[in-house]
């Protein structure tokens, strides 16, 4: 064994992207101030857009966490739906909402471990297809449960979160986004980050270097699905009606993916900025070009992915390697 020499040179610190932290700080200050602004007649509407922007941010960042370990998931609608249905069913069973929320999220987390175990040996396209199939399986199961249990194809009514207080709901979503950001930063600064990145960039090499690939892939699944399920809980409590088709729709799996790519993959800031820009752009387009808005939205997305392969955050970290936050 080599002797560890006493050496005056300090070990290299991880390149810490202070600018990314600053941007995150500014985002949260602005987002916190938003519901206290004089929003006028359109207050309810604006708070609703704000709420779903935060939910989209949680979904995108949760998706990105899983993608960091090389697992490009199309199962996020399933985690979202498991959160939504789990929450609704727990409320129906008389569990108080404050307990139903974490319980629904943990349930989704454990179900995701089953999926993660099955898809362990798959990669790329095969993994994506398996996760897509998983979403369909979960949707079909829920849809075919007796109507008295989960409402079948007709869906379920869910009591409104916080008695329907829009500002309270918005602030709860903001708190859960903050939690998601906390998880993402903690992962970034821990051993998990190195395991995820190694698995993503060379799974066999990672194993040769001693990375327990099974353990870390499942950890990514668990963290990601718990956070996505919390987004689902918020959705269920805000819309107070959930149905299998809406909750498990493919769009709920695809948009976290496009949002993360648009904002900047494998970063904390990217998916959040992506969610904010895309949701606001969607609303603006919806108001200005009416029915054609999806065409314009799709074009904007395509062109920006072509021109900004590293997303929005790539604009100011051009050419930099490693150390992204």
């Amino acid at each position: 064994m080599s002797a560890v020499s006493a050496r005056p040179v300090p070990a290299r610190r991880p390149t810490f992207a202070w600018r990314a932290l600053l941007a995150l700080g500014i985002f949260f200050v602005l987002a916190l101030a938003f519901p206290f602004l004089p929003l006028g007649d359109r207050r309810e509407f604006l708070l609703q857009i704000g709420f779903f922007t935060l939910v989209a941010g949680i979904m995108a960042l949760s998706w990105d966490l899983l993608a960091r370990s090389g697992q490009v998931s199309l199962a996020h609608a399933a985690f979202y739906g498991l959160g939504a249905y789990g929450y609704a069913l727990l409320l129906k069973a008389g569990v108080p909402w404050g307990a139903a929320m974490p319980l629904a999220a943990l349930t989704a987390g454990f179900v995701s471990l089953l999926l993660g175990g099955v898809t362990m040996r798959l990669s790329g396209m095969y993994f994506a297809i398996a996760t897509l199939a998983f979403t369909e399986v979960v949707r079909t199961v829920i849809q075919n449960l007796p109507e008295s249990v989960a409402g079948g194809a007709n869906g379920l009514l869910v009591p409104a979160l916080l008695g329907g207080n829009s500002r309270g709901q918005y602030l709860l979503a903001l708190a859960l986004l903050l939690l998601t950001v906390g998880v993402s930063l903690a992962v970034r600064l821990s051993k998990l980050h190195h395991a995820f990145a190694a698995i993503r960039q060379g799974e066999e090499t990672a194993r040769v270097l001693g990375v327990n690939v099974v353990r870390y892939k499942l950890a990514a699944f668990f963290l990601s699905s718990v956070l996505a399920a919390l987004a689902g809980v918020l959705y269920a409590g805000k819309t107070f009606f959930i149905s299998p088709l809406d909750t498990f729709s493919l769009a709920n799996s695809i948009s976290p993916l496009t949002t993360s790519i648009f904002g900047g993959l494998y970063t904390t800031l990217g998916p959040i900025l992506g969610a904010t820009v895309l949701r606001v752009a969607e609303e603006l387009l919806h108001n200005t070009v009416k029915n054609g808005y999806l065409v314009v939205y799709g074009l904007v997305l395509m062109l920006s992915i072509l021109w900004l392969p590293r997303g929005i955050v790539g604009l100011w970290r051009r050419g930099r390697q490693g150390g992204d936050l």
């Binding site: 064994m1 960039q201 390697q321």
Partner: protein
């Protein structure tokens, strides 16, 4: 630099293969291969193309499971151990085709080895160790560069540094000299000697005979999946069977 050490007669075995065989369908890629690798030894595995060297290395590193036979690393039976467990047991491997993690810096690449190759190590400590290794392998000046920007020789150094970071007792080197110019190969030879002198046993596969001559304490010659001969470089190259196996590439043998 240090002179090559001779293996003391009392040396302990570190890696021991017993009747390893691997069949692919009807092909016996490796057949009844047994050998013992002693502590502190540089052992070369040579043989003509298709002799089964790479298959053997893949059996040792855990890419394949043997059809029959056993494999021990010190006292541990690792015949069917997954790759990460072999790593924790003290087996390191550097690939012939370098495989840096392309989006990481050089320092981060080595940190992965230090962090996951040893038990109970914390991130700051792993970073420190990784930096030490970059200094030892002459890569410290490139610590913060992206791994994909390195030259081939630097890539090979990185490959070795990363394997060393897992604190192996035995290091498997798969044709690490391939593609290097003679002067670079000489540097690489010095690097490998230095690693052995730090107490790590080395098993390497090599095509370039001068490298085998300069580096190996002992040579195992394979042909058609079997061990044809075993001994010092002088002994095996004087063996008529070995010469016959290399017939047609005899010039290469004496280059």
């Amino acid at each position: 630099m240090s002179a090559a050490q001779s293996v003391p007669a009392s040396a302990l075995p570190v890696l021991r293969a017993e009747n390893l065989s691997k069949r692919f369908g009807g092909l016996n890629a490796v057949q009844n291969v047994s050998f013992t690798h002693y502590a502190g030894e540089i052992l070369a595995v040579i043989g003509p193309n298709g002799a089964g060297k790479t298959t053997l290395l893949n059996l040792l590193s855990g890419v394949y499971r043997p059809s029959t036979g056993r494999l021990w690393l010190q006292e541990q039976d690792i015949t069917n151990a997954p790759m990460e467990r072999r790593c924790h047991a003290g087996l390191g491997r550097a690939f012939q085709i370098v495989r840096p993690f392309p989006e990481m810096t050089v320092h981060e690449n080595v940190t992965v080895g230090a962090l996951f190759g040893q038990r109970g190590i914390r991130l700051p400590q792993a970073r420190e160790q990784a930096y030490d290794l970059l200094e030892r392998t002459g890569l410290a000046a490139h610590a913060d560069r992206a791994a994909h920007e390195l030259t081939l020789l630097q890539d090979k150094r990185l490959e070795v540094a990363r394997a060393l970071a897992t604190q192996p007792r035995v290091l498997l080197l798969d044709e690490v000299m391939a593609g290097l110019r003679p002067a670079e190969a000489q540097e690489a030879v010095e690097l490998v000697r230095g690693i052995r002198d730090s107490g790590i046993s080395i098993l390497f596969i090599e095509h370039i005979m001068p490298v085998v001559r300069d580096l190996a304490d002992r040579v195992v010659v394979m042909d058609q999946g079997q061990v044809l001969a075993e001994g010092t470089y002088r002994e095996v190259t004087a063996n008529p069977q070995v010469v016959a196996a290399y017939l047609g590439t005899e010039a290469g043998l004496h280059a």
